[in-house]
Amino acid sequence: MTETVPAPARVSVAGQRVRTAVVIVVLLIAWEVVARLITGSFVLAAPSEVAVSLVQNAGLLTRALLVTGQSAVAGFVLGNLAAIALASVAVLLPRTERSVTAVALVVFCLPLVATGPVLRVVLGPGDAPQVVLAALAVYYTTMISLLVGLRAAPSGWFDVVRSYGRGKVSALRYIRARASLPYLIAGLQIAVPAAFLGAMVGEFTGAESGLGVLTIRASRDLDIQLTWALATVATVVSVIAYVVIGAIGRRFVTETPPIILAPARPRASPGRRTRSALWTAGVVLVVIVVLWWGGIIVTGLNPFFARTPIDVALILSGAEDGGAVRDELLSALAETAALAVPGYLAGLAAGAGAAMLVVLVPQVAGITMPLAIALRAVPIVTTAPLVVLLLGRGTLGGITLVAIMVFFPTFIACLYGLRQAPGQALDVLRSYAAPGRTQLARVRIPAMLPAFFAAARMSVPAAVLAVTVVEWIATGTGIGSLMALAASRSGYDTLAGAVVLVTALSAVGYAAIGAIESRVLRVYAPEQQT
């Protein structure tokens, strides 16, 4: 076997599209057959039934889509503007970069399940909570894309600007802004489903109309057809928006939009690494406390539900209630970990494994890659009710949803990483007629590691989001359910404690993966460790 490199470039774009279309049709037929076989089990709606439901509920769905779409668009615009502003600050004032990205990460780790009800209380019954949640769901990924893009220029270009005595502002205007465009477009594409997801989660918290409201209602009424129809609508709209943004991007940008996996590892000399990490952590803590406490003071939030950092410290230390709330939180967290950790690991393993399989069987690669890219456009949490339908409200359903949430980004990142394998190194192995699996083990997997770890890091907040949402709307266990219950019963001590714990654990998990990554990459990809 000498030809193991998937070579999508040799397949024409049109040919690839036809193949993808064929695969989709085959999948639809298989779905129809399976659904017909297990009909009456209240699990799977056949495509034909979904189509009927779509037609029957066309008016209802359109109205809901307009409501959700409006919130999603508003959140998309606000979140991405915030991302552009934050990334520009980080580039113009490089000293602030580590702190800006770290604070942005912590805010991104805030569990939407808890921020949703809190925003509902603070902002009232309108669409403001949906908009804010949509903005919160998109800004981080766009900011990371942009930060990579704003640096994606060779130093020679900056020398030209500097040789005319111009500084950072000119470099931003003439070089960085334009060089980052493909990255911005890639970020915006990923932001589309995220905005939809944020808006729908916002609606779960008690909006009056919208796709999120209908999803909750259909799920409760065991209206299988409508549940599937809703997921279809959310998916189709996201995919269309994803494709449209890509098409608009191609009009302005000739470069191929890159696949952004995660922020570049922060640079620090070895001696200073610990000190600079501690310094950043300190700055982040101060900024968070200022934002938190300042937010309470500025908005004049009612002390009935507002909790200051000191309040939360007292709650978590058990100083006031003998630790009742803390113990409740910790036992809920243990339940959550039982879903989140296996789901996260399963998702990583399945994503990396599927990517390797695709590389070993190049015939499927041409079809899988576009399909996988398209699947990024699916707001995965909207499929939560479907997974619950299929696998029940128990542990398996929860673990599966987390795994699905982690699977897609990992799969795409690993596939991308495997493709990054240096051609010359592969040629050396091929010149000794090394079989495909040897090439995989010796060259491709090491080349894949940076992408794999980038996906693993970015999947931590995604897994937390998935597990809290599935606990909330399905399993009724763990911290997600506890937060939702606390919000509905005005248990603001519990809610505040849960938010702090979940956010802190997400950030710690992210940092822990980053630490493992550093150790592994030091061996396998030292060039990534600048």
């Binding site: 020398d159 005595g165 003439y174």
Partner: protein, 274 residues
């Protein structure tokens, strides 16, 4: 990095006159201890073309970056007409043609050549740009993006970009490295008269001794790293240096002297090793 704000204007090059470059006791040691330039003292006369010749990696390009104000010397002083390089750069009075053309891929050839005018907030002179495009032999490629050009064509566009602001000090780092031989001969014949007529002080880094002898008024030969001057050869030949001139005994004697100096510097280097 310099800020975008203007300077106090002190010590700025008189736009009507070419500047001298005064280098005294300049050294450059990179972080990690790599010594690129040993203490170097050198004056480049205004309006003249000086070629810097030396083995690969000897520090010529580093010196050029110091003159351009892109890097700071570790020690010593470097003044352009009495002013710091950064101040001269801020006035748009110097220009560099880099070894790597560094064209912006989203701008056309014309857009890339116009970039320095935007950077220095000068009006875009379409006619001057057309003239430069013709001069570097890129007629008909003005609207083309760099990706569609050959390496040599990109380098020529970069040279045109360096000339567009009519700099008083022109720094050329291997400007013809990727250009094919015939085009190179054309450029060597046509470009130097342009900057000589404008009275530009020019510094040319090159590997080609013949090119240095064709273009320069003075050739400075450097030792292997850290760069020290091993020879300073005046090229007292009339301009333009036509093929007839370049077959003259005087021309060949310049080539010989530079070649000898280079060989000596390498020999000395070997001899000095234990």
């Amino acid at each position: 990095m310099a800020a975008d704000a203007g300077t106090d204007g002190g010590g700025v090059v008189d736009p009507g006159r070419a500047p001298a470059v005064e280098i005294s006791g300049v050294t450059k040691v990179f972080p990690g201890g790599l010594e690129a330039i040993a203490p170097l003292t050198l004056t480049l006369e205004p309006g003249r073309t000086t070629a810097l010749v030396g083995p690969s990696g000897c520090g010529k390009s580093t010196l050029l970056r110091l003159i351009a104000g892109l890097d700071e010397p570790t020690d010593g002083s470097l003044l352009i007409a009495g002013a710091a390089p950064a101040a001269v750069a801020e006035r748009g009075q110097l220009a560099v043609a880099f070894q790597d053309p560094s064209l912006l891929p989203w701008r056309t050839v014309r857009g890339n050549i116009a970039l320095p005018l935007s950077l220095t907030r000068a009006p875009i002179d379409a006619e001057a740009i057309d003239h430069l495009i013709t001069l570097v032999g890129l007629d008909g490629f003005g609207h083309v993006r760099p990706a569609a050009l050959s390496g040599g064509m990109r380098q020529r566009a970069a040279i045109a970009r360096a000339l567009v602001t009519r700099p008083r000090l022109l720094l050329l780092d291997e400007p013809f490295g990727a250009v094919d031989e015939l085009t190179r001969q054309d450029l060597v014949a046509e470009l130097p008269p342009l900057w000589r007529q404008r009275g530009t002080t020019t510094v040319l880094v090159t590997h080609s001794i013949a090119e240095a002898a064709r273009i320069a008024d003075r050739i400075i030969v450097f030792s292997p790293r850290p760069a020290r001057i091993v020879a300073d050869v005046a090229v007292d030949l009339p301009h333009p240096r036509t093929p007839t001139v370049s077959r003259s005994t005087a021309f060949l004697s310049v080539i010989d002297r530079v070649t000898d100096a280079l060989a000596r510097s390498r020999g000395n280097d070997h001899a000095s090793r234990p």
